[in-house]
Amino acid sequence: MVERQRTKVIRRTITALGILVALVWSLAPVYWVVVTSLKIPREIYALPPTLIPHIPTLENYRAVLFESNFPHFVLNSFVVAVGVTVISAVIGALAAYPIARMQFHGRSATARLIVAAYLLPPSLLFIPLFIVLQKLGLVDTKLGLILAYLTFTVPFCTWMLIGYFRTIPHELDEAARMDGASRLQTLRSVVLPIASPGIAVVALFAFTHAWNEFLYALVYVYSNDSKTFTAGLAGLVMGDTFIWGQLMASSVIAILPILVIYIAAQRYIVEGLAVGSVKG
């Protein structure tokens, strides 16, 4: 018994230490961003670095919010991300329904194609898509960027929604069909309301993807009118000097919306990951 008790204590201590290490590892860089954003320039470059700002200041935030283009970039990110989310949720729901529910030739080939498209990495597509956007005259427009993001979010939403739709009992659609509802009516008034939590999760993922994306933003948009915040930050970095205080304040501002989503939907996100292997 005593032996048992002792191994239990040892086990708990090791677990606690391990978790402490895991948390420090995960949080330290984020903490450092936040702390740096609250320091005056002299303190940012001071040695030894201070763990807590001696002279806390919101000056960096003021400069970013009122004296730079950054709020405009954030707004562009928002417009693009909302556009992507809405379009891909609609197209995804329409495409997922027949695959989950209907019989037609090429059904399994279509499912296969969707997964393959979802797995196709952006680095394979960014140059050819650039040429396509150029032909369409959509380089350096928000619409062009939205179209580019659809290449990832449409297959992704479709695939996730197939999974969600399959969890809804068939009898419900069949009952609606017996009552004479068309497929579109069934989808709209039976399937979608039941699947709405799943659709919300899928929409959040699509939003997050468009919000965070960098490569397409870097290549396809370059004017202040259409740049998203990731491209905007890259513009600041590629200069010679780094204004770390303002860069870190910008970072905090740009993380906030994602953080709110993440906290609000944390449980679903973990579930969604398990269901659909969402990009990490």
């Binding site: 995960s26 961003v33 040695l47 797995l119 050819p128 497929r183 990009k279």
Partner: protein, 310 residues
């Protein structure tokens, strides 16, 4: 058939009242799929085909090019920068995925233990996943800053080194720095996938083994790992694809420098294709790795669909 079978001269009765008021199902199915198909055709399939053919031309951003056959590939395979970038990509992918696998399993086992505030602790441990890649890259660039960075200070102060370390400007060390940042960013995905898998292992398996006297370590290797094989395979393959293609860490941390020694294939494709406007050469960089992706994607597609239908 039925109509043909009617004797000649027998006038067919007026068409019966159609019982099926709906259009045939397959037609509706294709109609529903049409928008997705349009996205696929116009924004994925066509560009991909166009990109592959561009790799055989000397196309530049401002002008359409001429067919040059395999010249771009010949140039690449005698280009030290390309060969180095390919090697870096491979090394970075294999090493970071391996570390993420081991750490992810460890973190998942730790976080699956009973503890107070488990939900909060998990959410905090997953936080790097929620940080946009660009911002993760920026924060690590600041940590690795060679003059004022916190890491330089800590290493010198703790006596781990007696001279400053060039975290990002020594090409050999820079690859390690990039790997560390990528592990930080990618680890939560492994932990989350493994946590979900751990939770789905029936607990009576563990209990039975415990009664038979199997210790914790033994149970992990005899029960937990075999049960998680499928999830581990999918996670590793997904992460391999994403890691191989992650662009912003290298782009922001080193920009491929110094002396093009830290490029990976995506950043090199960007530099050749967009930076130097040589779309043909940039496409060739990408096309040269497409076979690897086709294999990975085919393998993964099969696995993910099987899991999806189970």
């Amino acid at each position: 058939m039925a109509a043909n079978a009617l004797p000649a001269g027998f006038s067919s009765p007026p068409a019966p009242v159609r019982r099926r008021r709906h259009k045939p199902d397959w037609l509706v199915a294709y109609a529903f799929l049409a928008p997705a198909a349009a996205v696929f055709a116009a924004l994925i399939a066509y560009p991909l085909a166009d990109g592959i053919s561009t790799a055989f031309t000397d196309r530049a951003v401002a002008q359409s090019g001429h067919w040059v056959g395999l010249a771009n590939f010949a140039a690449l395979f005698s280009d030290q920068i390309f060969l180095h970038a390919a090697w870096n990509s491979l090394l970075l992918t294999v090493s970071t995925v391996a570390v993420k696998l081991v750490l992810g399993l460890t973190f998942a086992v730790l976080l699956s233990q009973k503890m107070p505030m488990r939900g909060l602790i998990r959410a905090l441990a997953f936080l790097p996943w929620a940080v946009p890649g660009m911002i993760a890259a920026l924060s690590w660039k600041w940590i690795f800053d060679e003059q004022s960075g916190v890491l330089q200070y800590l290493v010198l102060q703790l006596g781990l080194s007696d001279h400053p370390i060039y975290w990002l400007s020594d090409p050999n060390i820079a690859m390690v720095s990039v790997a560390v940042a990528m592990i930080w960013q990618g680890l939560p995905f492994f932990t989350m996938m493994f946590l979900a898998a751990l939770a789905s292992i029936p607990s009576d398996l563990h209990e039975a083994a415990a009664i038979d006297g199997a210790g914790m370590v033994r149970r992990f290797f005899a029960i937990t790992l075999p049960q998680m094989r499928g999830v581990i395979a999918v996670t590793v393959m997904l992460s391999a694809i994403w890691t191989f293609n992650s662009f912003e860490m290298v782009f922001v941390l080193t920009g491929g420098g110094p002396a093009n020694r830290t490029h990976i294939l995506p950043t090199l494709a960007y530099q050749y294709g967009i930076g130097e406007s040589h779309l043909g050469l940039g496409s060739a960089v990408i096309v040269s790795v497409i076979p690897v992706f086709i294999i990975l994607i085919v393998l993964l597609t099969g696995r993910m669909l099987r899991r999806d239908e189970a």
